[in-house]
Structures are given as C-alpha cells and as structure tokens.
C-alpha cells in the first residue's frame, strides 16, 4: 500500500497509509477503535476503493478478482441456514469446486479446529468461539496466498488456539506462509502466543 487515503463523507478515515507485507509474513495491525483497521480490509476486499494512493501486489496494481485474499469478517458471517460443513466450504463452492469434493476436503480439518462432531449442526447451535473457528476454517480452506483476519478472537482462548494454528499450517499446505493481516484491538490482553504469531505491529493512520 502506498500513500493510501480514504475519505468517507467529511471524515478522513485513512490518511497517507503505507504498508509493505513480505512473503510469509504475519502482520497484525493494532489500534484503538475507529482507527480505520477494518477500512484497510474493505480496500483489500474491494468493498471500497481508495481515494488516494495505490495498492500493489508483486509491484503490479492489485487485481480485485477474488483470487488473492481469503477474508474473515469481524463478525463470523456464517449463514444461519447452512450447516457448518456447508458454511465452511462456501469459498470452495464459489471457486467452482463440486460440493462433494469440497466437503471431503473440509472434513479432515474439523478435528484440528475443534469442531469435530458439529459438521451437520447449524451455526445457531454452536458457541461463539466455535462459530469463530468455523469462520476461520472457512477462510483457511480457501488456500488463498493472503489471508485477512478481522479480529479473529476465537484464537484467544487457550487450547483451540493451539489447534487453530496447527490447522492453519495443515490447511495452508505447500502454498504455506500465508501472509496475514489481522487488525486486533486490545492487543495487550492477548496471550503471548498470539503476539508471537503477529511479528510486526504497524501503527494505524
């Protein structure tokens, strides 16, 4: 991102933000509420266009074709009418993978994400943490080069976090090293484990 600026109405939400993320890097973006962390993601997912500056990937302007990023929204955005397994494979389905194949790919990962036995449940039947992990699995399984996690707080609880990060490596597979931007609030309260996942903190605009 080079000198990116976004103005919504009268408010300069982002002003002259520059950020470089290298191959295999975990970057977490910290800042107080309203600092514009989620706005960065809206730029990257194409929900918003920058008013100033440019966004590049491998030195070329970023293509918003849905091939680059796997996005995990702040709220889990699980579809209440789909069973967990079918929520998890949504991204694969959009990519054109047949449902049966997508399910077969997703099922082995349920254990590592602490969701085994809940494949056929509806989101309303899961706890908040489990919903977050399902949303994370839905993100990871898309196997995109870059993952954007907006406050993935599911990993703040102890044991599932270990499992999640293990699952992360598994799902990332050979493409590996998912570069990950994760804006998180209240970072000081986060366990050390997570801080170690986020190796660089960028002050917000």
């Amino acid at each position: 991102m080079r000198n990116v600026g976004v103005t919504l109405g009268e408010t300069a939400v982002l002003d002259d933000v520059s950020l470089h993320v290298g191959q295999g890097e975990f970057v977490s973006i910290l800042g107080p509420s309203g600092a514009g962390k989620s706005t960065l993601f809206r730029l990257l997912t194409g929900a918003l266009a920058p008013d100033r500056g440019e966004i590049l990937r491998d030195c070329a302007p970023l293509k918003l074709d849905g091939q680059t990023f796997a996005f995990m929204p702040q709220r889990d955005a699980l579809m209440p009418w789909r069973r967990i397994i079918d929520n998890v494979i949504l991204g694969l389905e959009v990519q054109g993978v047949p449902r049966a194949e997508a399910r077969a790919r997703a099922l082995p990962l349920f254990v590592e994400f602490g969701l085994e036995g809940f494949e056929q449940r509806y989101p309303a039947e899961l706890s908040g943490g489990m919903r977050q992990r399902a949303a994370l699995l839905r993100t990871v399984i898309q196997a995109r080069p870059i993952q954007l996690l907006d406050e993935p707080s599911a990993c703040s609880t102890r044991s599932p976090a270990h499992r999640c990060s293990a699952g992360w490596k598994t799902a990332g597979g050979p493409r590996a090293g998912p570069r990950c931007l994760s804006p998180m609030m209240c970072a000081r309260r986060w366990p050390f484990r997570i801080a170690s996942m986020c190796c660089r903190a960028v002050p917000p605009a």
Binding site: A47, P80, L90, E125
Partner: protein, 262 residues
C-alpha cells in the same frame, strides 16, 4: 403459532386450551341467546341449526368447495410465480423497481367490489377472472415480502462472498434468496388467507359454482343458516391452507429452529 418448536402433544393441547374454551364459550352464548329470545331462524339461526344445515347440505357444500379451492390455489400459484420472477428482476434492476413499484402500490388501492364485476364482464364466468382477482389481492404482499427479504441479507455475508470472487448471481442464490425465505413464508401465510376471501368474492359476483355462489343463492332465498354453513366451510378451508403453509415453512426452514430446541 408460527414459532412452533417440537413439543409433546400434551403441551400443545394445553396451550390451545384457552382459545378452544373461548370459542366454545362464544358459540354456547349464541345458542343460549337464540333459544331464550325466540328470535326467528330467518334472522339469526342457532349454531346447532347451522351445524345441522352443514350435515343436510354436505353434498352441495362439498361440490362447491372444490371450485373455490381450485380457484384459490390456481390464482395463488400464479400470483406467487409472477411475484417471484418479478422480485428477482427487481432485485437485479433497481431502476425497474423504481419504475414498477408505484404501479403495484396503486393496484392495491383498487376496491375489489368494483374490480370483481369488471373482471367477470371482461373474462366471463370461468376460472380466469378468479385467478386474476386472487392474484391482484395476493401479488403485492408476496412481492413486498420477497423484495424486503432480499434486502434483509446480512451485508457482511455479501461482503464475504464478494471477497471470495462470487458473481452477483451466486451471491443472490447463496445469500439473498435464502435470507428472504422467512419473509417469503410470512407473506405466504398472510396472503393465503386473502386468497380464499378473494376467490369467494369473485365467485359471488359471477360464477357457475363455488362457495361464493352458495352464499349468494342462500342470501337470495333468505337462508342465513345455509349462508353461515358456507362461511364455516370457507373459514375451515382458510385455516387448513394457513396450517399447510405453516407446516411447509417448518419443513423447509428447519434451521430456524436450530439452537432453540436445546
């Protein structure tokens, strides 16, 4: 009623008991009033007499219920199909929506009393005017239910799907359409009750058979007992259709009950 969760049959019976008691009570009061006042059955027949007439005229009532049912269901199916097709078009073309919506609103201001005889005049005594009138009455509520339903889609789900590179059609199919289903069924339950009333009224102004015709003939021969018997049949028909749509909703939207049952 609508938010039914699976309960033991005894529990449901207990919940329905106050309603049942009030209905039975009202009918009893009516019966007692008619007997004590000695009012003529040509003015106000007792419930017992209405029930008796239902038995005596059961063949007549049954023969005339079928045309009403078929007019209701054909008209309603027609209306729902058009409303659905149009709702999809309106969802993809907001301009079309702005162009057509006022017309639909105006269609709801037309008094059925005036339109029904005209429809008979234009389309005859067959099924066509009935289908059109049922559609006129039920089309708009169904369309609004669907259009509002699409709009109720969680914007984060749409953002998520677009971040996955989903096409607009895919977003519609996987997110907007399922989001509209609870609204669709709410509209269905309300509209189906309107549909029966519209069918009966369109028969009343001109038809060869149907509950509307039974009511008309009974009125003309000063038979309030037979009129009320036909009313009981039509109310029962409406309740049955209402119940069927509620059951349909429960069968198709099982996810809505998930998480409530435990």
């Amino acid at each position: 009623m609508s938010k039914g969760r699976p309960r033991p049959a005894g529990g449901r019976l207990a919940r329905g008991l106050p309603a049942l008691a009030s209905v039975v009570g009202a009918v009893l009061l009516w019966e007692i009033y008619v007997r004590l006042s000695g009012i003529s059955p040509l003015v106000l027949p007792a419930p017992s007499r209405v029930i008796e007439q239902m038995g005596v005229n059961r063949a007549l009532l049954w023969e005339n219920t079928l045309p009403t049912l078929s007019a209701t269901l054909t008209g309603f199916a027609f209306s729902v199909s058009i409303a659905f097709a149009l709702s999809v078009a309106l969802d993809f073309l907001p301009k079309l929506r702005r162009a057509l919506f006022p017309i639909f609103v105006v269609s709801q201001t037309l008094p059925l009393v005036a339109i029904a005889p005209l429809a008979v005049l234009w389309f005859g005594f067959g099924l066509t005017p009935k289908i059109l009138l049922v559609a006129l009455v039920t089309f708009f509520p169904m369309l609004v239910a669907l259009v509002d339903g699409y709009e109720s889609t969680d914007p984060e789900i749409e953002t998520l799907m677009r971040s996955m590179g989903a096409s607009r059609w895919k977003v519609f199919r996987a997110a907007r359409f399922p989001s509209a289903m609870p609204y669709f069924f709410a509209g269905l339950r309300i509209s189906i009750t309107y549909a029966v009333v519209a069918a009966i009224f369109s028969e009343y102004v001109g038809a060869r058979a149907g509950l509307g015709i039974v009511i008309l003939n009974a009125k003309n021969s000063f038979r309030p007992d037979l009129m009320l018997a036909a009313v009981v049949v039509s109310s029962t028909l409406t309740l049955v259709l209402f119940g069927v749509s509620a059951l349909l909703q429960r069968a198709l939207l099982r996810w809505r009950e998930a998480g409530q049952t435990r």
